[in-house]
Symmetry: C2
Subunit: 306 residues, 2 copies
Amino acid sequence: MDAEEFRHRLDAAAMATEAALDALLSPQALEGEIARPARLLEAMRYSSLGGGKRLRPFLVIESARLFGVEGASALRTACALEMIHCYSLVHDDLPAMDDDDLRRGRPTTHKAFDEATAILAGDGLLTYAFDVVADPATHGDASLRAALVLALARAAGLGGMVGGQALDLAAETAAVPLGVDETLQMQAMKTGALLRFAVDAGAILGCATPEQAAALTRYGKALGAAFQVADDILDAEGDTAALGKRAGKDAERGKATLVGLLGLDGAKARCDALVKEATTALADTGLGDRTSVLAQAARFVANRRH
Amino acid sequence: MDAEEFRHRLDAAAMATEAALDALLSPQALEGEIARPARLLEAMRYSSLGGGKRLRPFLVIESARLFGVEGASALRTACALEMIHCYSLVHDDLPAMDDDDLRRGRPTTHKAFDEATAILAGDGLLTYAFDVVADPATHGDASLRAALVLALARAAGLGGMVGGQALDLAAETAAVPLGVDETLQMQAMKTGALLRFAVDAGAILGCATPEQAAALTRYGKALGAAFQVADDILDAEGDTAALGKRAGKDAERGKATLVGLLGLDGAKARCDALVKEATTALADTGLGDRTSVLAQAARFVANRRH
């Protein structure tokens, strides 16, 4: 698959995700006998609509498609994952955390609304993600829904994203900076776990064989690691306008970055090796050419400019 | 069932919940190939262990017991619900929200640790709750697990607890104070939804008939409303030492309370009526004497002194 066709598939997934999120977060979807806290819903919409490449939803959709699964099952799972990604950005941007004013070129949620609303909007998105996945509308087979909930909770929790963010914050004030292994561990949790879930979700929805599921997990791990090292490279090289957030802020803040630990050339070499690892893992699924879109995704993640 | 026997059952449920939460949040339970952010886990334990009446877990356990369901299914569901209750306290206490320094007579989590850790500990507990419910260890039947996840997410989300907290915060700064109906609505979401989930969970785990489930929901709604009006009465009458949090703070802050809207006598009359409503609903389950523990629970909730 060439870069243009890949871009088309990525854009199509982003548009489908945007529309589905818009519908899931519409006042109508939430109507009932209950009062609707309009401002909170508005903040949840602000935090999750109208931005981002929607890489995680794309990976869910394309991983499920490998097994011939399309439609609501994949799209709703993709939306749930994106809600969790978006909630994490809202909470990470809070003054007590990374204290960022700008996200995707717009004021962060606590700047556009207020801190209390931002905390609750994050809580609401996180909670709604599990509502969406557990809903029979996502899949007729409850055992798949329960498996998705379990995998998503583990990816997002103490052993995954939330734990990684805690390790990252702890490293900022630690007497001894993180080494390479610790940095990789932290990044695998903070960023990698959700990306890995994206392809694991495809395997769950597609009833993959254990071998296929394991190969996709290896792909997801390599992709997640490539994503993060590319992020560190971007932070070192990028400019604020292209990033939609302040460049150089991680290094400036003394955060552990792979560019700092491996040097720019070392980080780039690692990124290339991870793309190869991801591509090899895809071959191990035995799904042949169908995986070419995911191979292109690994290259895209490694070479993205924002 | 007399008050003494009830107290014994309540204490037994609290002890079982404490032990189960301790095990679920032990470093061993979370061991794996991942790094463990020790401070975050410590904050999650601080936020959820060693305190509280464990009323919600008790209601899950006793509601399930109505149908002969005991053991891990009820206890794990009870723990998940308590984790969500505890996370909500941690986030509600934050400086940007209610800004409380004291909770159950101890420093609040952001005081004992720091704000970032408190935000993440709340996120971690919320996420882990869904992990615990979706895990096959909770029940062999995945459709029950998925139903529990869905009901819990709805009770905790925008249409439930999180939405109620948003309405409560909005009311503090609104030009026009909330009326009686709006206050009842807000309280039914903020406090009532999780209490109602507790008994709905028992019905789900016990495979209750639709009539039994509906009767238990009516009980749960009345109990939740009684809990909140009793809370408002306590806030107006109580003293700080007995409450373990500052008395009079809701009224002082101009929060909508039923004592403010109905007067102390009006609030007490409403509380009595709700206990009757709860007891009538229990009779409608057709489960006879077995429900006496829940009838006593309604009286306990209405008359508690802290």
